[in-house]
């Protein structure tokens, strides 16, 4: 595994609505890896991700991506962000949506069509995005990011509501992108996806309670699966408190 850090987060503190959401988190994410960001609802996953792409106001701490402060101009061609709720134009077709984001990066309509096929939306390319099902919207939103072949790809719960076959295909795709040198940060609720990550960040109440490989996490907690490992960590913490 290459070890150059693509993302470096140092003592990041974020308040939302005057309440602390991230309480001084730090981590390094290596280039060419898939990192899973796990944690219960409301634990701050989206907030962490928004800080990485530079759309979140932060209170203190630093986030460096590819050697630049998060969200700065040189990064806007190299980092792609897929939001938790599909951010696409409902009054445009699937094709027009993906072609638009493709064009912003100088990519062709042909490449846009390939990205659409890649998420299994080829049959729906001419449909208005507003008339799609939830999972289809998610896939369209994903295609809008995949088409630009970014160096850093940040995905907020990209597989929610997708069927197992497509989820499997997408994870194969994520692995292939990482093998090609891209750095992926993927948040998820689903523990069985965690096993496909090189590294896991377990977020709870705004702090990382684990930052480790899946194998080491299982070994350290003496559990067979990650779900159990996560529960073990939480119980241990609650025992301490």
């Amino acid at each position: 595994m290459p070890s150059t850090p693509a993302i470096v987060v140092t003592d990041l503190v974020v308040d939302r609505g005057k309440k602390p959401v991230l309480r001084s988190v730090s981590t390094e994410i290596s280039a060419g890896t898939v990192t899973g960001l796990l944690g219960p609802s409301g634990s701050g996953k989206t907030t962490f991700i928004r800080s990485i792409v530079g759309t979140q106001k932060v209170k203190s701490g630093t986030v460096q991506v590819l050697g630049h402060p998060a969200g700065t101009k040189p990064l806007r061609r190299r980092v792609a962000y897929v939001t938790q709720d599909a951010s696409i134009y409902r009054d445009l077709s699937v094709k027009a949506n993906v072609a638009y984001f493709a064009a912003l990066y100088g990519r062709s309509r042909h490449e846009a069509m390939q990205a659409i096929e890649g998420v299994g939306m080829g049959d729906h390319a001419d449909k208005l995005a507003g008339n799609l099902s939830g999972g289809q919207k998610t896939r369209t939103s994903l295609a809008c990011a995949l088409v630009i072949e970014p160096e850093v790809l940040v995905l907020d719960e990209p597989t929610v509501g997708l069927d197992p076959v497509i989820r499997e295909e997408l994870w194969d795709r994520f692995r292939a992108l990482a093998a090609g040198g891209a750095t992926l940060l993927v948040s998820s609720h689903v523990m069985d996806e965690a096993d496909r990550c090189d590294r896991l960040l377990l977020l709870r109440d705004g702090v990382f309670i684990a930052d480790d490989t899946p194998a080491d996490l299982r070994a350290a907690t003496g559990t067979a699966n990650l779900e159990a490992a996560f529960l073990h960590l939480i119980r241990a913490l609650e025992g301490v408190n």
Binding site: V53, K57, V58, S87, Y89, D91, Y100, Y105
Partner: protein, 245 residues
């Protein structure tokens, strides 16, 4: 700012608009129909219609642009696409100028239909050239756009955005000289009228109404409206935040 991205953005916004056939129909037909209605109401007073009809030609694209800009931009803000765009190479000015090009084109189409109906079929008459009327209408429409852009930052729902019409648009329509000449209003109100950009659009139109040649006063009035476009656009762009709470 990148001209390439600006035009891609304008193309996307126009496509969104064109996909909504009903809105396109309303944009093109409604002003012409209302001006025809006014013309029938003022059947016995064609000179009054010359004034009112002319002002309406500019008032409609102004209202239209205000509404569609504030609502489209609000959708970008609440639908997450604005946040996404802020992580792409799209600059704030690319977005704002993209809006101006797209909706300016819509306003031009609307004005073309309404002006054709008004001048050819309803006998609207001006001493000055038609192109000057057209130019004033487009600049006024851009002012509506810029105002809508700015105002959309203060609305969190489409319902609120609609409620800004009576606050930001209606007073300007009442005070610009559409329903009553500004110089016959209460003194303090004339002061207010003088402070509203739409008033200068009406003054410019009146210049075209009365003078066969384009006058320096018309250009001066139009420059005031253009200045308001620039100020409101800059204020509007300032409300687009890359980082939010």
């Amino acid at each position: 700012m990148s001209p390439r991205i600006t035009f891609i953005t304008a193309g996307r916004i126009l496509r969104q608009l064109l996909n909504d056939h009903r809105t396109v129909g309303l944009i093109l037909a409604v002003p012409a129909l209302i001006i025809a209605l006014i013309s029938a109401i003022m059947d016995e007073a064609p000179r009054v219609f010359d004034q009112t009809g002319l002002i309406l030609l500019a008032a409609f694209p102004f209202m239209l642009m205000f509404m569609i800009t504030s609502i489209t931009l609000l959708r970008e803000r609440t639908g997450g696409t604005l946040e996404r765009l802020m992580t792409t190479p799209t600059g704030k000015l690319d977005l704002v100028v993209g809006y101006a090009i797209a909706f300016g084109t819509a306003a031009a189409a609307q004005t073309a239909v309404a002006a054709t109906v008004a001048f050819w079929f309803l006998g609207l008459d001006t001493a000055g050239p038609t192109w000057a009327v057209f130019l004033i209408c487009i600049v006024t429409a851009l002012f509506g756009m810029a105002l809508g852009l700015f105002v959309s930052a203060f609305a969190t729902t489409e319902f609120q955005a609609i409620q800004f019409m009576p606050v930001f648009v209606v007073p300007q329509l009442f005070l610009c000289g559409l329903i009553w000449p500004a110089d016959q209003m209460a003194g303090w109100l004339q002061g207010v009228s003088d402070a509203l950009p739409l008033t200068y659009a009406v003054k410019a139109l009146t210049e075209v109404q009365l003078n066969p040649d384009v006058t320096g006063d018309m250009w001066a009035d139009l420059a005031v409206v253009l200045g308001a476009v620039v100020v409101a656009t800059v204020l509007g762009a300032a409300t687009l935040r890359r980082r939010t709470d």
